[in-house]
């Protein structure tokens, strides 16, 4: 008996985070009017399907001293990308690692990886590790540092269905 709660309602209930109480799933289930077991089953299914990546803390990099970050971009041989991409994405200093289309002739890069560190030197050192990892498949690379945040509103669930 799961009640009639949509994934969107579950997402909306958890968007602001999990309640910081000893039994958080019971608290959320209560709020949604469904049994705790039912909510856990749904959350497990959302994890399996990739809607939820994990249930965890998001630290503020800056407050933990990781004040430098660079958007590293790479021109990687297409044939090798599916094999090498996951290796770059698995590095613990890399977030937001994606294959994206090139925009030739302006933009030859097809792999993006945000690299985080406590200083520009550390970011460069980590970037050098990616260079080694990509080896012969690498044809070109660049790094873009952000100089200013022009807008940051975050992503919000809109009212729908």
């Amino acid at each position: 008996m799961n009640g009639k709660v949509t994934d969107r309602e579950i997402i909306a209930a958890l968007q602001g985070g999990l309640p910081l109480v000893p039994t958080p799933y019971a608290a959320v289930a209560d709020q949604l009017g469904i049994p705790e077991e039912g909510l856990m089953t749904r959350l497990e299914a959302m994890k399996q399907s990739g809607v939820i990546r994990r249930i965890a803390a998001a630290p503020n990099h800056y407050k933990l001293g990781m004040t430098a970050n660079g958007m590293t971009v790479w021109d990687v041989d297409d044939a090798a990308l599916s094999e090498l991409g996951p290796l770059v994405g698995a590095l613990d200093f890399v977030s937001h690692c994606y294959e994206r289309p090139r925009a030739l002739p302006d933009w030859p890069y097809n792999l993006f990886a945000m690299v985080h560190g406590s200083s520009a030197e550390e970011v460069e050192e980590k970037r050098a590790r990616i260079t080694v990892l990509l080896g012969d498949a690498l044809r070109g690379a660049d790094i873009l540092y952000s100089s200013r945040i022009l807008k940051k509103t975050g992503l919000r669930l809109r009212k729908k269905g």
């Binding site: 959302m46 001293g65 994606y98 289309p101 945040i149 022009l150 509103t153």
Partner: protein
């Protein structure tokens, strides 16, 4: 950050891993750190309040929130930068926007209800600014390992 003790640091590191789907999901970690659940939660609340943790809860795949997303970039002439920034930011579909040191110097993310919304918004920005909006939608995602060591 000066007020973090060793337990806080261990907590921050451990809480970046997946929390179990159990009735009392914090209990095993509390035991491992030699804390009561209440003491652990008090620390997590303090870390949230001081902003060391920006959030605690499920990480949703952005597409699961409904709608479409696309990273975009423009090469904006320096003398027009502020004007173009204002034009771009005026679109509510622009979720965030960064100035970056490159010929492509303005990078923003569009978030729209539908895939067509990306094209419409990007095209509108091109018309308003007379500049090309390069579109870099994600084709494959490789993001797996990122953790901040406290």
């Amino acid at each position: 950050m000066s007020t973090l003790d060793d337990i806080d640091r261990a907590l921050i590191n451990a809480l970046q891993d997946d929390l179990p789907l159990t009735h009392r999901p914090f209990a095993p970690l509390a035991e491992r750190l030699g804390l009561t659940e209440e003491a652990l939660l008090t620390r997590v609340k303090a870390l949230r309040e001081s902003g060391v943790l920006t959030r605690f809860g499920p990480f949703f795949d952005a597409a699961a929130m409904g709608g479409a997303f696309c990273l975009c970039a423009m090469a904006v002439p320096a003398e027009d930068f502020e004007k173009v920034m204002t034009q771009v930011n005026a679109h509510e579909e622009v979720a965030h926007n960064y100035e970056r040191q490159h010929r492509l110097n303005m990078w923003f993310v569009l978030a729209t209800e539908t895939p067509e919304g990306i094209t419409q918004t990007a095209d509108a920005i091109e018309q308003e600014t007379g500049l090309i909006v390069h579109r870099f939608p994600k084709l494959q995602e490789f993001y797996i390992g990122f953790r901040v060591a406290a």
